[in-house]
């Protein structure tokens, strides 16, 4: 019932966003049962038309595009989720530490983050991938660390806002330990902005992974992955086949969905009104 009440409290754009997320999540979770064919099974001729025997046609070597999209949802969404979780655990922990301890801890952490963050993320990812190669685990770790940097900044900033509150000073004066203050005073009061940030960061991570895959530096075939599917089928565009646009559209749809939801949640949480 709580879920229903939550959905009711959303405006129409947020509901659309939520619908898109739930839909893709469902596809990812039940991929093997939903997909009509196997992940890398060749089922027909190349470039079978969209809307014919195969709903989304077949790709450049004759695999069912719909099945690959469904499996791709699983690979791409889960990888991005793991990566974002990784970056949040690391980034938020560092950010809270810097905010609560202050002093040299804050100084050192902030300077390191300043430097890493001043290299554009895609360039940073390209350098590391060129050095260590691509695998599911490496990608999650590398991108997780890169994105922990902006998360650190946000987490530190929101924790600082809480940190200056008198109730944190009151807890310090009571003699509470560092861990207690982080867990009981700071974390509960930073959950809302951090949750919104999680949504946004997930989009960025998702786009970066898709971008890397698109450049041929992400998950390697025959694993289906939306970004890689765009790339491997991109030749079709020149022949007038729109097949590669379908996985690209899926990426776009999911990120727009998340953005719509996060946007309205942030608006609601801050009670922000634009009408000055």
């Amino acid at each position: 019932m709580k879920v229903l009440a939550f959905v009711r409290s959303l405006n129409w754009s947020a509901r659309i966003g939520l619908g898109i997320i739930v839909f893709f999540g469902f596809c990812a979770a039940f991929a093997p049962w939903l997909a009509p064919y196997g992940e890398s099974e060749i089922v027909g001729d190349v470039w079978e038309p969209i809307g014919g025997e195969f709903l989304f046609g077949t790709d450049i070597i004759g695999r069912d595009l719909l099945s690959r999209l469904i499996f791709g949802a699983r690979n791409t969404i889960v990888l991005a989720l793991l990566t974002t979780a990784c970056s949040f655990t690391l980034g938020a922990l560092m950010g809270f530490l810097a905010a609560t301890m202050g002093g040299w801890v804050d100084q050192v952490l902030s300077r390191i983050v300043d430097i890493i963050i001043s290299v554009p993320t895609l360039i940073c990812a390209l350098i590391v991938v060129s050095a260590v190669g691509t695998s599911f685990f490496v990608l999650a770790t590398v991108i997780g660390i890169i994105y922990a940097m902006p998360v650190y900044r946000i987490a530190r900033a929101v924790a600082m806002d809480v940190e200056v509150m008198d109730y944190v000073e009151a807890a310090r004066l009571r003699g509470e330990g560092l861990w207690w203050i982080m867990k009981r005073e700071i974390l509960p009061n930073t959950m809302t902005p951090l949750a919104a940030e999680f949504g946004l960061r997930y989009c960025f991570v998702f786009l970066l992974i898709s971008g890397l895959s698109f450049l041929g530096l992400g998950l390697q075939p025959p694993l289906a992955d939306w970004g890689a599917m765009v790339r491997s089928n991109s030749e079709g565009i020149a022949w007038g086949y729109l097949h590669p646009l379908i996985p690209a559209a899926c990426i776009a749809l999911l990120t727009i969905g998340i953005n719509l939801l996060v946007d309205s949640l942030v608006h609601k949480a801050s009670g922000l009104r634009d009408d000055h």
């Binding site: 300043d114 290299v119 350098i127 971008g211 727009i256």
Partner: protein
Amino acid sequence: MSNSLFLMIAKRIGLGFFTLLAISLLITVGVEALSGDICTAILGQMASEETVAACHARLDLDRPVMVRYVEWLVNFVQGDMGRSMANDRTVMELVSARIGNTLYLAAFSSMVAIPLGIALGVVAALYRNTGFDRGISVTTLSTISVPDFFVAYILMALFAVKFSIFPAISNVAGSMGFWERAYVSALPVLTLTLISIAHLMRMTRASIVNLLASPYIEMAKLKGIKPGRVIVKHALPNAWAPIIQVVILNIAFMVVGVVIIEVVFVYPGLGALMVDSVQLRNMPVVQATAMIFASAYVLLNLLADVLAILANPRLRHRR
């Protein structure tokens, strides 16, 4: 210019250069530490010690890493970026053939995107919560949340395949005249421009809306000042700092945004070169191009900060 202002800017510039140094260290030493021993990778675990040593000597890996780093840096600053591992051309040769193309792409897009994006942002902020504002907000939100290559391919499918107006492949060459070059690179420019406009517009709108909420804007209205004058005299002088930031951050964004767009349109720029080299694990080229991209990004951010300091009336006129 007052002394403390000068000091503040000097400090910021110093920090910028320190950052560049740290990045160069990461790009060279860090990458080497991450990638493990190249020679064992090339020759296999079974290779004898002598062959590995010979390989080290050939690739100049037998000296201490810090010595090689300093050497690399000194050479880099002097324009010597080493030799490509794929073919025996110097990296400088490869880079200089392409850097112009990338700059052309970024500059051309900036000239269209910056005035248009800021104008749209200001208009949306002034007419906020109208149909125009909502429409443009949804459009830009969609544009920035889709992958760059999606925009690129849609434009390609539309203008190159369906209507055959522009070429799908933008293989510009140095021998081309202005119009031919513009024609050939039309699609990448258009893609980059669309994406930049979306970013610029959203950031401009946000900073203007923020500004219009200030008590001094309310005060100006209560003094009976006409809306046009409120914007020009009261909002704009305080909006320069955020707008300059927006513009430069956007150029910085373009520097990176070109990578994927260049790959889509097979545009012979620095980004495509970097991606090719990463695939071939051609480290000297990767390092050089990464250093160039990172430097451009850091220097632009530095410029944005310095201009923001200069544009802030509270800092310009000290007590």
